[in-house]
Subunit: 249 residues, 2 copies
């Protein structure tokens, strides 16, 4: 008994009293808490800053403890995607103005994608597997909307529209991520890069940037982005409207 107490253990003094109580102030480790914190980290620090160790640290837990609630990091990302999908608002089907409803849904997707700039990246990385409940109900509501609008092949129309919406949102999110990393405001960032951009475009006859656009980009870049998105959205909606069997306008 008087043998040296193998002092290699986690506690220098192997006494029950020296050991700290289990912390119950923190809301404990649970799948939901993990996903919530992961989303917060992704939003704040970007997609490549999220590591299981850092996430564990923020939850006052060891890195490997997370694996009791989540099979793998990829699965965690799927859960995060599904969680965030719930933020997208799709108006109920059957309203009088299908274009307004679809515009609302598309805009809601965009603002969600810009609030969580990693969303479209993760969505694009895995071609499948996103059959989470929130994602399913999002799809269902969209399908209902387009069916009620009278589209003979609603899934085609949805695929077309959201290819545009996702593509555009993804580009915007990537841009905003770059801006955020620079630490400057968007307008300052643009102003600083403009000379280089114009020098690069100098050799190409058709790439000149009109003065009015330079003006707006350095004044209210967010408004310019809003307008660009709205423009493309109208284009796609116009094209889709032509597929409507008469009278749907």
């Amino acid at each position: 008994m008087t043998r040296s107490t193998k002092s290699k253990g986690p506690n220098p003094i192997p006494s029950v009293w020296a050991r700290e109580q289990r912390r119950t102030d923190q809301p404990a480790l649970s799948r939901d808490a993990i996903v919530r914190e992961a989303i917060a980290m992704l939003d704040a620090e970007g997609i490549e800053a999220l590591s299981m160790r850092k996430l564990g640290a923020r939850l006052n837990a060891g890195a490997t403890s997370l694996y009791r609630h989540v099979a793998t990091k990829d699965e965690l990302m799927e859960l995060a995607v599904d969680e965030v999908t719930a933020e997208i608002h799709v108006p109920p089907a059957g309203g009088p103005d299908w274009r307004a409803a679809v515009t609302e849904a598309a805009g809601s997707f965009r603002t969600t994608a810009l609030r969580h700039p990693w969303l479209t990246l993760v969505l694009g990385q895995a071609g499948l597997a996103y059959l989470g409940p929130n994602y399913m109900s999002f799809s269902e509501r969209l399908a209902a909307l387009f069916t009620a609008a009278g589209f003979p092949e609603p899934s085609r129309a949805i695929e077309t529209l959201f290819s545009y919406v996702i593509g555009m949102s993804n580009a915007e999110a990537a841009w905003l991520t770059t801006v955020a990393r620079s630490g400057e405001t968007e307008a300052d960032f643009i102003a600083r890069l403009m000379p280089a951009a114009q020098r690069a475009a100098a050799d190409h006859a058709h790439l000149a940037i009109p003065h009015t656009e330079v003006e707006e980009a350095t004044t209210d870049p967010a408004a310019l982005r809003d307008m660009k998105f709205a423009y493309g959205l109208e284009v796609v909606l116009d094209g889709l409207a032509l597929r409507l069997p008469r009278k749907g306008r």
Copy 2:
């Protein structure tokens, strides 16, 4: 001299003769060779299988030797993107049928993106920096095409169209990557997953998959994808055509 020859060195016998000649059979290490091999690896093994060590090994070189020709892995990816961009064919501006020309350019982008399924991922990851020469000339040719077609704001039209094209291609590329990882043919993969998909859609009234589509998906899935892409492309082009000042049809 009879002391034990510190056998920790790279060569067991530290003799000039034991050392192997510098290999000159291999075409030497150069930036171009590195980029070419990187693209080959990306195409064959996917984006997350590319590591500097494996790439070095394939070039009969040490991992860190690559850094003499390439500043960082991100830079290497930019170079790969630009290299691959040269494969996209954009018809010359001023032809009689702008729709056919734009359709050709969009289709060429798509096939390139499907041949290199990592393209859209990398494109989306960095919002900027892709001002490589090939990418610039690609943009220039597109701008020329849309300007000649008579669009008052060609950059808006291009942005709209390619948001759709990139969004759609990205989704397809991700899907094909998933299929490839399964080791099955696309049709088999679909057939195996269909029951699960239908079970998942059972609770949602508007998500049923029409029988004709199930039929085609399990028979000639590539043709179905072609058709979906073409459908959305026509939609967008119809919408764009409405912005043409009269007579452009």
